[in-house]
Symmetry: C2
Subunit: 476 residues, 2 copies
């Protein structure tokens, strides 16, 4: 029977329903996996946290899987002993996905990091789940192709699939939803299934691929991922443009999207972020609202895009574009953008970040974003803002002292207001980070009890023992 307890260490994991992991289960794991199973505290603790601000007791053991069969065998044992299973990539979740809030074991997929099959002629690649996005791009470098999805962290393809991740290129190339063609998955009973083929489109039965993409480990463990690749653009230009106000930067973005400019990246950084990024990455970007943009295409097409965007930016008082012309300059700029989260965290030593992730229809972006900034300013909390604004998606990060409950309460209150505003504007509480532990109530407000009931029915049908990352997305 599940043991109900409240852990004094937890933040916002109000009730832990810790299920026991029988000693016989640990024995069985050790027999099967030998040194690839660890119950050492340091290893368990590494696998019992992520980038969220939550805490929970660590998992009872960690299995380092080296093959799909390893995963299947571990899940079969977990099913036999009725023990939760939490898949682990590199631990960069922002929403508590990796926390063992109902106890159980962690399956570390980091050693399953082979690029299995590059089909350059079909613009597809199949990888093991522990391959990271940077590793993937390194592996396909010689083919003239690239994989565009780039969450801030160098996350794994398995983790990115499980959370339906996106990043800075999504405005042009879509998210994991649009870019995963097929998965291999170990189900809750330990069976290995495949969810698709390499065909570009298919009408063959239920779309299990997209049901599993974004299911946050609650329906199965992803053991193989086939994704789309794209030809490296013939021409790439990156530019920054400063604005007198956030409103001007946001309105520029709205116009770019509404006019259908096929911009590849359109990122907003507020003055706080610029200050933190300048310090962290030794840059000298002008402090203020900044759009960081990239244009992909043929030389003529890039030229056209740039001309359109410059004209729009001018209308909103944007400064002259500053160009990152060489690949090295571009890499430096985008690395700085990708490191913004870590730069922010380091700007206040010892802090934790409470991050927001709303996404709204582009016409509502100004309403959603500017009021949230006003509220954050008024709160007196440290914060910074970055946005995949071309998608209508932005993140506020409130930097709180984890030992000051009043700061956490303020941040949570700000997040509440921000999310409810976005939902009223026909948006979503999470553009790319997932629900995890933090947004369960928002999910109900957003989609309604009927839709969440449908999700629960699916979960119960596919995982009757509720062992696959339980306690995430919704409680059963």
């Amino acid at each position: 029977m599940p043991m109900k307890a409240t852990a004094s260490t937890s933040h916002l994991v109000p009730e832990l329903h810790l299920r026991s992991v029988p000693a016989a289960m640990i024995e069985a794991l050790k027999t099967r996996f030998a040194e690839n199973c660890s119950a050492a505290l340091v290893v368990r603790e590494q696998h019992g946290r992520d980038e969220s601000s939550f805490e929970a007791p660590p998992p009872a053991a960690v299995v380092f899987a080296e093959s799909t069969q390893d995963v299947a065998d571990a899940v079969k044992l977990a099913s036999q002993y009725n023990v939760p299973v939490i898949p682990f990539g590199v631990g960069t979740s922002l929403e508590g996905h990796l926390l063992a809030v109902q106890g159980g074991i962690s399956i570390d997929l980091g050693r399953m990091n082979q690029v299995l099959d590059i089909n350059a002629e079909d613009l597809t690649v199949t990888v093991q789940p522990g391959v990271t996005r940077k590793q993937l791009n390194e592996a396909v470098k010689g083919t003239g192709l690239f994989f565009p999805i780039d969450p801030g962290a160098d996350a794994t393809l398995g983790g990115m699939s499980a959370t339906r991740a996106s990043g800075t290129n999504a405005v042009r190339y879509g998210t994991m939803r649009e870019n995963v063609l097929a998965l291999e998955v170990v189900t809750a009973s330990g069976e290995i299934i495949r969810t698709g083929t390499r065909a570009k489109k298919s009408a063959a039965g239920y779309d299990l691929t997209r049901l599993l993409v974004g299911s946050e480990g609650t329906l199965g463990v992803i053991t193989e991922v086939t994704v789309k690749l794209y030809p490296l653009p013939e021409a790439v230009m990156a530019a920054t443009c400063s604005f007198g106000s956030l409103a001007d930067a946001v309105n520029t973005t709205i116009q770019i999207i509404q006019l259908g400019v096929p911009i590849a990246r359109c990122e907003l950084l507020d003055a706080n972020t610029i200050r933190m990024v300048n310090q962290h990455s030794h840059l000298s970007l002008r402090e203020g609202a900044l759009l960081l943009m990239e244009f992909h295409g043929s030389p003529a097409s890039v030229k056209e895009q740039v001309a359109s965007v410059q004209a729009i930016a001018n209308d909103f008082g944007g400064q002259t574009f500053e160009w990152a012309c060489t690949p090295e300059e571009r890499t430096r700029l985008w690395s700085a953008r990708h490191n913004a989260y870590f730069a922010g965290i380091q700007s206040r030593p010892g802090c934790r970040a409470i991050t927001t992730d709303t996404c709204v229809p582009i016409s509502h972006l100004a309403d959603a974003l500017l009021d949230s900034v006003t509220e954050a300013e008024a709160s007196g909390l440290s914060y910074f803002l970055v946005g995949h604004v071309g998608d209508g998606n932005f993140h506020m990060a409130y930097l709180i002292d984890p030992d000051k409950p009043e700061e956490r309460a303020t941040a949570e209150q700000l997040n509440q207001q921000l999310v409810h505003r976005a939902l009223k504007l026909d948006g979503t509480c999470t553009g790319e980070h997932g629900i995890g532990l933090h947004k369960m109530d928002f999910l109900v407000t957003e989609t309604g009890t009927g839709a969440v009931a449908m999700m629960r029915s699916i979960k119960r049908a596919l995982d009757p023992k509720n062992i696959m990352n339980p306690g995430k997305i919704f409680l059963l």
Copy 2:
């Protein structure tokens, strides 16, 4: 209890498990819907067939729904009486989706044909399920936007969502999978749920939208659809190019896609199709393998695309491009393409078409297509071939005399060979028409028993009485 029977009229619906529709249910429908419920034979027969070559007894009654509440009430009655429900749009399914193979009632959604909400500034539109693709494009005409998904028939958005339809523009704009943002759905218990927002991306829980897109009416009745719109391209050019052989046309296509040319439409028509289309649409296209292409973009980008494609076509002996310069010429050409299926059917009076729908990774397109043509030629059957070849998707249509079982057997044998070839080439048995009645065995071969078992579990969980279009995709 279900009644098991074999109908003498059925073709390839080997066993009908007809469930009884109690007289009390019909009474209850008539009480609730008055003249919007019909049990007249002619109405039932209209709703008991589609463009497939199958036959089954018609539904027991037809409800003409005028609102979501109508649908919900009809489904609640169906649930109460344990009676199957089959949603009906305009009846253009090619795979028997609309046949009452387990009895039950049809819900005609044709009167729910309002365009509810055009959000031009967000490039989205929300429609009732009975709106057809042509009607939708007519409604958004003044906005400078368009909806690209175009199955051959003027299908409804509800039906297109339910079958995960695509068409000639999918090579650039994706299929319904990529273009539906959110749905309103009446579930098997008659509850009304919403599956998403108008945000461009979301990581909020299970992707119910994409689970329902392509579920062929087996999980719920779609009562509202929100889809993406696209800015009308600044420049559009359409051209035809003839080749000395199908192989040359196919290899040209493969090169176009592999080089990443963002072609908007890339359609193959074989000599048989050209002959039928010329006759039906009073055109004088050159008989032979023909690529029918369209290019969208800025004037400069279109010019670049055309130059790239002309160079590739030249390498494979393609004739000079013939341009359709005016909108009227383009419309005439694409109407001819969209009417190819009907032109084909009319070329052999009294015939039925058995259509194929495989889709393979682009590098395997020549292997998949050319061997299938060789086999069709050797069979002596009438056939024609059209292909959304830019996606690796093509259709053979075998024209059979429904009174000659040997012709049907030959066509089915050809289809078997063609599908198994595609599956070996990592393709799918259906790119866009769906599984319906015809491809259940292929689905198992394609995805494996484990994946189909997962689909069945979902179906059982969401429709425990098995009343939502039962007997399609898989048997329970």
